[in-house]
């Protein structure tokens, strides 16, 4: 099936070339980091995780959200999603690939990566995260590829794929739950030490992932002969709506507990992101941008008129995606370290090479996604004609 990638138009070639340039720039910056160490990043003794781990956290959510098309189609026989399950699964492959890359670029000793396998440590959540993420990647490759191949041949997928599909549904939930557990079990990091963390992660993932999927489906509809179908997009938009409402509701629950109890350990991190703490306020503009985008998205999504119109739905999905990207891809991880265990404040600002490495990894993910989508869409077009 891979040969489909080579039968491409000029526009697609330019897209891949553009992504390759970004990947190259990121790679050069990574070589710089590889020789100098993580000192070239904005991270410090106090804020010891930054942009990389935050992107990882956000993208696990995007990966997990594939379940939002797989579950209705395979468990509830919701036919409209039949055409786009492959888009969900391939998005998951690209997202998990980015997650793994973000972990690798964050390591101080990347060549010792396999120590995690050589010395398996079940009491570390990171060990389990490695297992569930790689397992999820494998599941989606196997399922996506075989179902698409069967579609190309005009036959039913092999029998052994079905059980894997059923396994992939709780597995998707597990990847984001385990990723939340990375944070939610640390004593002394009160911003993260909250039982609702996994639920919050899943709610925001089921909004941001499907929002991206809608945008991608719209793009595919515009650029190719494959139409993912209005019904599927509309059903996805309802998923985004409910998930975003629940996600915002969960944040309010956190705010209530913090500000009604007034326990400093709980309030000060929220103070830092919402209003600034002792004159330190680098994340405040980001937080409010995220809040405003969420309000805009909710307004456009809850109103059926704007939700049904392609133009406004597109804006709503963009707003949802960027709002939640800021929340999980920036503020949630960084603010957990501010203030530090001594109740003092060291702020964090990523450096230019750090940003380029981050963009490079995103470009790699979108390169994988473009290639996979190209294959999927070409096959869909062939089958249709």
């Amino acid at each position: 099936m891979i040969d489909r990638v080579f039968r491409v138009g000029e526009e697609f070639k330019r897209l891949l070339l553009g992504l390759l340039v970004l990947m190259g720039l990121g790679f050069i910056c990574y070589l710089f980091q590889f020789t100098k160490g993580l000192t070239i990043t904005g991270m410090s003794r106090d804020v010891s995780w930054g942009l990389y781990i935050a992107q990882f956290t956000f993208l696990v959510g995007v990966a997990a959200s594939a379940v939002m098309v797989v579950l209705p189609y395979y468990l509830h026989d919701f036919k409209a999603f039949g055409k786009i399950t492959i888009l969900g699964e391939f998005l998951a492959i690209a997202a998990v690939s980015m997650c793994l890359l973000f972990i690798v670029v964050d390591l101080g000793m990347p060549h010792r990566l396999f120590n995690v396998l050589r010395y398996p440590t079940p009491h570390s959540i990171l060990f389990w995260d490695m297992i569930v993420l790689n397992g999820y990647l494998l599941l989606n490759i196997l399922i996506g590829w075989n179902v698409l191949d069967a579609e190309r041949m005009g036959v039913a997928p092999p029998k052994w794929v079905k059980p894997l599909i059923y396994v992939s549904i709780p597995w998707a939930v597990s990847i984001h739950t385990v990723t939340a557990f990375l944070y939610a079990g640390l004593p002394g990091r009160h911003y993260w030490l909250t039982a609702i963390m996994a639920a919050r992660f899943l709610a925001s993932a089921f909004a941001s992932g499907p929002a991206l999927l809608i945008l991608l489906a719209m793009l595919i509809k515009k650029k190719t002969k494959f139409d993912p179908g209005e019904e599927a997009i509309q059903a996805l938009s309802k998923i985004v709506t409910y998930a975003l409402i629940i996600s915002v509701f969960f944040v309010f629950l956190e705010l209530f507990t913090a500000y009604y109890s007034k326990i400093p350990g709980h309030t000060q991190h929220f103070d830092y992101v919402l209003f600034g703490l002792h004159g330190h306020a680098k994340l405040v503009p980001w937080t409010w941008l995220s809040n405003i985008l969420a309000v805009v998205a909710l307004f456009l999504l809850i109103n059926p008129k704007t939700r049904k119109q392609e133009k406004t739905l597109k804006i709503a999905c963009l707003a949802t995606f960027f709002s939640l990207w800021i929340e999980k891809g920036i503020t949630l991880v960084i603010a957990g370290f501010i203030p530090n265990p001594f109740d003092t404040i060291t702020e964090y600002m990523p450096t230019i090479p750090e940003v380029f490495i981050t963009i490079g990894v995103w470009a790699t993910g979108f390169f994988i996604l473009s290639v996979l989508y190209k294959i999927a869409v070409t096959i869909k077009e062939e089958v249709a004609s």
């Binding site: 396998l117 490695m130 640390l186």
Partner: protein, 259 residues
Amino acid sequence: MDKGKRDFLKITGACALGLSALPLVKATAKEKGPAYINIPKALQGKRWAMVIDVRKCQEQQKRGECNKCAEACHYIHNVPKIPNEEEIKWIWKDTFEHAFPGTAHEFVPDELKEGPFVLLCNHCSKPPCVRVCPTQATFQRADGIVMMDHHRCIGCRYCMAGCPFGARSFNWRDPRPYIEKLNYQYPTRRRGVVEKCTFCAERLGEGLEPACVEACPAKALIFGDLEDPTSEVRKILKEHLTLRRKYELGTHPNVYYLV
């Protein structure tokens, strides 16, 4: 693609998968490694702990700024002097409100407010850093000491997020150019790994007390085994009220402060 090619690819894939599992087989099938040598004069303990007498330290400070514990420790262990946000420290002085956030109120005596409180790894009995480490590069010894294996650490810094005491430092850059005077008796670290106080495990093995304890001119640092009812630390804890940092988090820190 015809059938032959596909089967070839499948077999190749299976072989590659098998080969990649080889290190796992090697790791699990290995023979038992060399045993430890027991030096008779080595200090033996079941739960090493430290009491820090803040008043004695204060008195010493009145006679002139004293930083002997940190100087001795950082020299012996080749701890680099890197300024600001990439600082590496095993033992250091801080104020009451930083050592015990939330405990200090506005009317605390000025003397106590300034401390100094000598801070170091608490060698917790239930260490969260050990719990979260994905490679067991940080581990707990039978005598309670929380140790680091700098050859195994992958530099993920999960332990730094896990430690509620800010006791861990990461080598963001190559530390070697920042070591003022090299001690050839102790290894240096390379960049990309986490390090911290080890309660001088290497000195205990030779029958010596930790370097900071030995260096303190005020004898404000007292080291001993909490499981030994006759030890000095046990005596002090029985006779005086002592504080532990963030005891409420349940990590069971083994450094006690006498105020």
